[in-house]
Structure formats: C-alpha cells, structure tokens
Subunit: 427 residues, 2 copies
C-alpha cells in the first residue's frame, strides 16, 4: 500500500511510463492523447521520470505544424531482469533490459526430477555467470521463473506438480529473492508461454483473449482474459492434460485415471502407438527407424510422416483430431480471439495442425469461430523466456509497486525490497 | 477520454467513491487505509463528493482513541437505474437506487420470438409505469438489458441469437438510450446471472473466478475472471449448449448439428425422454401425468422423481452426469473458486445436482477441486435483474465515465450522455 499523497501522482506516473515503455516514438502531445491527462500533468510526470533516470530523449519527431516534439523512450539500460524457464528436460536462462530485450541467453539440458536443490543450484551458477559477463556494472531488478507444473502465484510455491518430484511447496521465490536481493515471481511454464506470445508476437498484440495450447509430453493451456493471465483459483487453470475423452476410456494414464486426453494424444502416446505400428509391420518406415536406432520417439513419427508413411500420417491426424475435439469445447466456452498452438507438435506441422483446425472449426459454435485465428507458436523456445522476462516487467511497473521504489523527486536506483518480500510475499 | 487536469483527480475520486459504495460504515481514516491515498487527498475528495451530492453523512463511528469519525455512505437516492432481464418466455423489469437496492420490480410472460418491436415496446410501457409510480421526481441514470443470446458488448448488438428471431443486430441500446436519454448497456442473460450472483450472494463475494452454469431449455455459462466478466472475443464465451458429447452422437440438435450437450441434457431433452418413458410404460407416474394433463414437461420429470419414480430419478441422474462430465472439463480448464448452478434444473434439486457434483469431483484435476465450492444459485430469477442493475452501476462509476459527468466543483445531476452515446457507443 502506498504512503500518503503520492498515490494520486503514482497512477499518472505509471500511466505515462506505461505508454512510453509500450509504444515507440512517444511524444508529450501523443501522451496527452493516449493517457487522457492534461498537458501540464504529462510534462510534470515526464520531468519526474527523467530525473529518476527512467526516461530519456530519443530524438525529435516530425513536426505536425508547430515546434518539433521530442521523442521519449524508456532508459532500458537502467537495469536488468533475469528470466528462467525450467522445463521437464531442459531450461533456458537469460538476461533482458527493462524493455524486455534479451541481452544474453543460454539453454541447458536438465532433468527437473533431480529436484530443486540440483536444478536451482545450477540456475544460480548460470545466472551469476551471465551477470558477470554481460551486466557486471548492473544490478538485477527482478527475476521471473517458469516451472512445468501448477504454481500458487500469490505465494510463488509449486503445488503438487505431477512431474516435479521434490518441488511441492519448495520456496523458489524466497531462495532467489534472498540470493539476489531482488523481487522474484514464479509461474507455470505454459502461462509464461502465453504471456510471451502476447507480448512479443505482433499478431497477438490486439488479442485480448488468447488461448495458448502446448502439446508436448504433457498437454496444457495458458489463458489470457482481457489482456492479462487468467490463472484460476488454485493457479491450475489450463491444466487440460487429464480431461476425459471418450477415445481414451480404456487407456490408463500415468496419473492413474482412465480416459485422459494426454494418455492418447500426448507425446508418450504418440511414441507408444508409433512403436506398435513399427512392430506390427503396419509402418515400414517406422519399423526401419526402430531397427536402426533401437527406439521410436514422437519426433520419429513426424519423420516418417514427412517421408510419406501413411500409418504415421494417420496417427498424427488422429492426435490432431483428439486434441481438436477437446479444444472445440474450450473455444465455445472461452471464445478466444486467437489460439496459439505450441509444444513439440508444432514440429509435426500440418500433419497435426490441419486436423486440429478442422475439428475446432467443425465442432465449435459458429459465432466463436467467425473471427477466430489459430496459429502455430511464433516464439518457440524463446517465448517461454520472453514470458518470464515480461512477467517481471509487468509486475515491476505495476502502479502500486512503482510507488514503492520511485520515491518523490530522487533518482531511482534498483527497486527496494519491501518488508517480507525476500520471505516470499512479493505481491 | 477525460479532458485536461481532472484525470488525476478522477482516479482518486473513483477510488474513494468505489470504497464508500461497496463498504458499509466507511470513515475517512478507513478510506486512507483502504485506497492508499493520503489523509488530505481523501478529505478533499470526500468534500467534492459531498458537494456533488453523491456522498452523505451516516452517523458517527465508534472512537478508536481520538475524535469519533463520521461514517459516510453513497447517497443512493440521488438517482435510479433500470434493470431489464429478457428471457425466452418471460421478463423481469425493475428500478434500483444507486446502491443497487431494487425499489420496484415486475415480472411478465412474453415470447421473445415475437421480436424486438413487440417485446421492447412492452418494456417501455412497464418501465415508464414504474418510473411514474416509484420515481416520479427522479431521472433514470442508466439502463441495463439482458437478452437470451450472444451480444457484442462493445456495440450492444445481439449477434445471431439462435432463439431470438428478428433480433440479430437490433439496436436495443440506441432505442433505449434515445427513449430515456440515458446510457444503456446490453449483455447476455447468463452473464448478468453470473454478475448478479457475484454482487448479491454473500458466498460469492470473495470468488474472483466464478462459473455460473444455467441448465434450462438451453444450457449456457457465465464466466467471471479476476472479479470481472469474461465475455470473450465475440461476446459468446460460455455458450456451451452445443459442445459435443459422446452420448449425443446420434441425436440431432435444434441447431442442426449432431452430438450437442443441450440435445441430450437440456429441458427439451428431459421432456422428450420423460414422454418416451411414460409412453413405453417404463414410468407409471409419468404415464399418469401424461394421461391427466395431455403433456409432459421437464418439470413433470422432477414431480415424478419426488414421488419416488425410479425411471424419472434415473433420467435426472443421467442429465446430471452428462452436464457434469462437460463441466469437469471446464473446471479443469478454468479452475474457478465457485460453480453456481442455476436454471430450471435447480428445482430438481439433488436428483440432478448430486450427479453433477459427483462427475465434476471424479473427473476434474484434483488440484482444481481441492477448494472448489459448487452451489445452487441463490438469487433465482432476481439474480438476473440484480445483474442488469449492477452492470449499469459498474459502468456508471467506472473512472473514465465518472470523469465525464462529475465536472469539477459543481453539484452532479444525472450523468450527461457523451456525443454518439445515444447512437450506440456508450463505452
């Protein structure tokens, strides 16, 4: 909660800063129009942001009759934020400036099942190395962490994540916020993918309601409602891998239930069916692959389909149909403007995507598909890192937080941690 | 967009007014804590709101050491708003004060298929009669209208509503905002039911993510995300009557598709199956009802179940199971804190509700049901009217709008219409 008089001022500061940081070439006349504040208020706020070292000159804009107005930009180099995207079998770590531009990033294979001590210890080594090499004279303003399981966002704690043994309730936020004395936010990886697409894919910029569906080893979704993440009451919104589908009635899922979508349409199901087709001789191409490599992965099914193998193509089309049927229900229910399809399945291209689209357009409410767009994820692996970075920036520049670290009149350093923040309550 | 300097002031005015209108017994010290503004700013805003006639004294609060602080309340009697809830076969019309308290209401049978001229003409007669009797010396500050079909909220136009012939694109907002020179908002009736529960059911007050499922002739849902309605990209979010269910594969729905949920679990399906059970002699109780009245309605199935008829009970349980299986997918996907079950089905009580709950808890992700509550709608018919009223109040007291009708220093009359508002662009 902000202190005394500044709260009024902070709302307008946040509005002015928000417009400058999300639009290129902002000028004071444009700000007056966009944020609905008077010219004198805008001018005062710009001076304050310049004094704080957060906004600088970016050249002159073309004149529209009178004097040429100055263009303003966020001083993105004022600080760095770290994004950490932890997946089931790999992680991506990067630094970004305050505009979200990634300065450096590194990817590494890991096994999330090795537990938090091993994985987070390695994260700390890599972040420190990046800071040393690329931001030696800068401080970390905040960290964003994505993990492949449900997270209670308010506390930053993983909640019973099925593929992350040892992580249930592990205080990731507390560890990192102490380590770097900087506020830390933790979220589910698919939420960060959705946020990354929303903020970095130009085609998603005007999609206030977006659905990101990741089909990989697991199947999950990230929901954006009115331009912000819908995380749900327990932070597990979008967890659609284990919804019931009729086609899976007799298949037991790794979760112990029968009938789960993931058990028939996830990456493991694809590999298992591919292997069955190879072993029964239904697919000669996949039989070849199995014989030469000794194993058959979900990616191999795509390889076979690309070589024209009919059985592999039919298998991928069936996967698309299964996902598409569930997705059709979700599109009718949620009415998104854009469905982004990500995860390993994107590599299978139209073998899967065409069947997904066909099911969605056939089975959703006509009104819900009238203007619906569906696209493969543009960001790939980078989207998750971008999501982690933008999670931090959105939280840092949120008005209430801004009030805490932008004291009246004085130049801004790195935001201060509030009491209790290092102990896991950054919101 | 607001004019010059006031925008800053308007944000704090809106915050102070918002806290006063949503909390009983607000005092200036409590406001300082709650809205995070300084004492002097709060005091100045309270004076402005009193000058504008929107806030008045409501007695003294107990002292907490020093001087007793004044309690403040919204001057709810400063104006009236009209709520108009139009259903397929009936409508409810009422007046409320600015706190949302309903002053007068009337219900009437109608057939929405008679078209907008007939139905809205009758609405106008009834609203005028109420205004004349209960608010002769007051002006209408705004109107909220609910209709049983999808609405593009930004324009207030019904969009291809399946059970409302003649209403597609009909300018309801334009007609009413001209008629009463007051801003008008139009929304889908199930959205208004969800909003009504959110604002008037004490058990829903802290549910930021809520799902209202109405099972009547049609089946539809209203979604609340983070305390506000999620309407979707085309205004048709929640339209789940026509999602595919395996059990309906061979049943043709009134929409022309096969496999729709509504075709096997809606009110018409219940009546149809009940009649079949009566005619084949599988249910003697329903056969009696059919023989004595010449027809068999969905409500009759509940009557038979209440009399202990096994076939009727099994039919209602099946309906619950069908709805529950789809709802389980939506609960996993959306992770609401509260599911409210409304529509005619609520009258069947546990014959249906127990089966819905059992399916949801058995088939949703365990984490999504860990703290999930599911309850029959508390508001009944009144919730829809309450939703229409609160839709208007939320929009009227929204900061940007407040800026337009609360001019600096002068006492507030009814909010002025902005240019173009009467022509259907009130947002």
């Amino acid at each position: 909660m902000a202190g005394s008089v500044p709260a009024d001022r902070i709302d307008s500061l946040a509005a002015v800063l928000g417009a400058i940081r999300t639009h290129r070439g902002m000028t004071q006349p444009l700000l007056t129009q966009r944020v609905g504040l008077g010219r004198s208020v805008v001018a005062a706020r710009v001076v304050e942001l310049e004094t704080a070292g957060l906004v600088v000159n970016a050249g002159m804009a073309p004149s529209t009759g009178g004097r040429q107005p100055r263009q303003l930009r966020l001083r993105a180099e004022a600080g760095v934020v770290a994004g950490i995207s932890i997946g089931a079998t790999g992680m991506e770590i990067g630094l970004a400036d305050l505009s979200g531009q990634v300065i450096a990033h590194v990817a590494e294979q890991i096994d999330v099942a090795d537990g938090p001590e091993a994985v987070l210890g390695r994260v700390e080594v890599l972040v420190d190395a990046q800071l040393c090499e690329y931001a030696a004279d800068q401080e970390v303003w905040g960290l964003g962490v994505g993990v492949p399981g449900p997270v209670e966002f308010a506390s930053g704690l993983p909640v019973a994540p099925p593929i992350m043994p040892g992580w249930d309730g592990y205080p990731i936020r507390e560890r990192f916020s102490r380590r770097w004395s900087a506020p830390t936010w933790v979220d589910n990886d698919v939420n960060l993918l959705a946020l990354g697409e929303l903020r970095t894919n130009p085609g998603a910029a005007d999609a206030q309601d977006l659905l990101y569906v990741k089909i990989g080893t697991g199947i999950g979704a990230g929901l954006v409602s009115g331009g912000r993440l819908h995380r749900g009451s327990n932070g597990c919104a979008g967890d659609i891998g284990h919804v019931a589908v009729a086609e899976a009635e007799n298949v037991i899922c790794r979760c112990g239930n029968a009938g789960c979508l993931e058990a028939v349409a996830g990456g493991a199901a694809l590999a298992r069916e591919g292997r069955r087709l190879a072993e029964t001789g239904a697919s000669l191409v996949m039989a070849d692959i199995l014989a030469s490599t000794g194993r058959l992965t979900a990616a191999d099914v795509t390889v076979a389909a690309d070589r024209g193998d009919a059985a592999a193509r039919a298998l991928l089309a069936r996967t698309g149909r299964l996902v598409g049927t569930t997705l059709a229900t979700l599109v009718s229910f949620y009415n998104p403007a854009l469905v982004v399809l990500g995860g390993g399945v994107v590599n299978a291209g139209d073998h899967v995507l065409a069947a997904i689209r066909e099911s969605v357009y056939r089975r959703s409410l006509p009104l819900a598909t009238r203007t619906l767009r569906s696209e493969p994820a543009s960001g790939g692996e980078a989207a998750s890192l971008a999501g982690a970075v933008h999670l931090v920036l959105d939280e840092l520049f949120e008005p209430r937080r801004l009030a805490r670290w932008l004291p009246s009149g004085s130049p801004a350093g790195r935001p201060e941690l509030a009491a209790g923040e290092a102990a896991g309550s950054a919101t």
